[in-house]
Amino acid sequence: MPDKVRVRITVNGTRHDLLVEPRTLLADLLRNDLALAGTHLGCEQGVCGACTVIVDDTATRSCLVFAAQLDGSSVRTVESLAAADGTLHPIQRAFTQEHGLQCGFCTPGMLMGACELLERVPEPDREDVEEALGGNLCRCTGYQNIVRSVRTAGRIMADEQSEVRA
């Protein structure tokens, strides 16, 4: 086995200085080394999107990236969304309001994909959502409520922004 590689990586705001095997996938680093089990593996080949996280502001499939590639990067996972006091993020609130999840296994990937989209496009239309999340598979919901959830999230976030400004 080749020598371990040093990776300095920030995950959900916490800095880590780690030694990892070169072949360690980001998904496995998150789940196994950092005990962040919210990132789920559905196919391990980039098809299903359940493992989507945000790496340096880009939605990324954590099953297709080696941790060793991410020295100096910043990663956000589903665990970054809700506050420690249990307050859900507006995207999470929108998903529960619109019943945008059932079994919840694809949900962290959907949430992180939606999070990245809403940072780029604050009030997306259906086509924007389809473009951003069309590669994330959900076997439960039939997607209709996921599209609604993401659009509702945009509206909630816009409303909260304007309340803050007011």
């Binding site: 005990a35 089990a37 080949q45 809700a82 059932q102 296994f105 949900t107 076997r139 919901t141 039939g142």
Partner: protein, 809 residues
Amino acid sequence: MSTIEEPATETRRWVGQSVPRKEDPKLLTGRAGYIGDVVLPGMLHGAVLRSPHAHARILSIDTSEAEALPGVVVVLTGATATGYVDPMPAFCAEPVEQRAIAVDRVRYPGEAVAAVAATDRYIAEDACARIRVEYEVLPALVDPVAAMDPSATKVHETLDSNVVFHRSLDWGEVDADLARAHTIVRSSARWHRMGAHPIETAGAVAHWDPFGESMTVWSNSNFINFLPWAFAGILRVSTNRLRMIPCTVGGSFGSKHLITKVISITGALSKACGRPVQYLEDRADNVAANDNVGCDRIYDAELALAEDGEMLGLVLRIIDDYGAYFQFAHGQHGNAVAQPVGPYRIGSLRYDVSCVLTNKVQQGFFRGAGADPGNFILERLVDKAALEMGIDRVELRRRNFIQPDQFPYKIPTGNIYDSGDYEAVLDRALEIAGLDAWRTEQERLRAEGRYLGIGLATCQERSGYNASEWWFLYGDEAPLPATSTPESCKIDVDAMGGVRATIGCPLWGNSPETVVGQVVAEEFGIDPSSVSVAYADSTSGAISAGPGGSRVTIMLSGATRGAARTVKDKMIRVAASAMEMDAEDVECVEGVFRAKGAPGTSMTMAEVGMRAHLFNDGTSKAESSGLVAVHTYDHPYFTPPTDDRSDLGAFYPMVSHACHIPIVEVDPETGEVTLRAYYVVNDCGTVMNPALVEGQVVGGIVQGIGAALMEEYRYGDSDGTLETPTLREYLLPSMHEVPEIVLEHLETPSPFTTYGVKGAGEGGRLVAPTAIASAVDDALRPLGVWVDELPMTPERVVGMVADAREGRR
């Protein structure tokens, strides 16, 4: 044996509302505790080496190089695994043995030949790559018709034939109905095998304690509180020394009822090393070897009609490709005969089924469980009859619908339909679809050379199974007593008035916590958000068949209400005693126990709770201390089969109904089918929670879109190689394929169930495939295309168009 519920007269506050889902916060924050999240000290990780061949003899296996790899703790072959575990439980009568790891011979591509436990998954997979297996490749049986030939290679030497089961049953006067028919329409239809493919694969953690000879198993199996003894049998552990713990399940759709192979492999590895082992299927394991494959049927069907379109009799001859094993027997045909005649007054049925073994992974269960192709063939026949007889397809259905005043209605097989108003559903569907506008659009597009089609299907969704369907086609002996499919709920109210429910079914992606919260809230008048819900492990006695057959909301409602009422009645007695009143004069309103008609005298839940727990001072001598009740709710309405099976009895009597009207556009040049719109009217009795039922129906429809257009297991004709080994080849619907789905409900409550609830979990997938087939037909009518095979992939549509043009069909 059977009960009729009291009619719903009271107004309900919580049942019927879109109450927020209790399950959501943990799911939304990544804290739900799936099987992959279970971590134990010292836990090893499993991986499995699988056969690349569909059919081969294993000549030798060399594991030495794998065992030498640092970090590898155990390597098991089929032969060494027999030292730890026994074969899979079989629900069939035929001698077909299946082991989790093959011994001597592999019978389908992907069958396990060795398993490894190592300190991490990477090393376990490295070790698999170092195992040397020498195979003698045998001829692969791919085509079920060829496999039926007496001279064909046998999949199992213990059987005389690859036709593992054959039976033909007549109900009613089939021959007489065929003889008096004015028209007999025929259809040869093909329903290919599809897989459930939940986004989470199956997995388990097993921890063997060699000193206590006991095992603890965490898994995403459903049947931990239904058939725990069956798992104990495989794992060679005493039934009372096996503890099975449920995990949150990342979707199942029928595929995770048992997952016996995964549990067996994990248990064998743990026994071999005495350490906890986790084995999670990867996607390749799941596609190739999970028992998540549904029906694989060739139909030769006839529908006999009188001159006026009255449907007289139905003949279904079925060849069903079961794959290499027969673990669940013909259960999916038992399921199909719950509703073979659909919503129609068809008087007779011939059901002739041949279950054939081939070199493919065995059939398991997938949403619909055999009724899915059943609905497909029936509605195809009805559409064909309309076309051949020149009767409008809507009118033909109307003429044959069972009428509202005919319920409960007994169909030829003996099953009972509880209630319904099919014409009302049809009428409302036609209204919301705005058919006139679509017909105008169809004409406009046809003038441009484009092909728009309007589909229509009216189908049943049988729900709430009595498991007798598993064995009753074995018709040569007197039937066993009807089997039980129970559901349990324990309710306890603590000394401070807090209500906790513990249920036997796992969280499978449906919403048991929400349903329990609603029912408890309804009974006590408290807020559902205040109710806490926990999941029982297999040592609790909370026997439960869990989700399956669209049963869990029906059954859980009954279990929860039963337990809640027992506890509430005791609280009324305790409160009455404390208030020096007769219990008959005390009621529970909004969580307060008060004198009827004199609300001034009252006790809170906490006051009654404290009194019952701590101050059982003799004023209520008949009561023991505490407030706890377990209620096991058994199937609410069944009757046993007759010895000769001329009447199978009522076994699946809560029958929902739906009408689906999809609008498609088909490009005959590329074969692409695009859904433009989709309208549904659904009747699942009392709607427990509209938002959640809509989620089930829409999700099912999208799986049905997959069934109609893209999902199919494909095997190489010559060698049986699995050509769809991952989700790159086996396509699932994405956001891109889904139209806006418009859904409405009508409610004809079931007279048999708590609150009148019927099932809603499978209907979407039970109806959509045949509805979309009818839409494609309608689109391509000018070209003379008739759809009799799913999925309608682009290449298949192009082929159908070419065949029609050249008069081959």
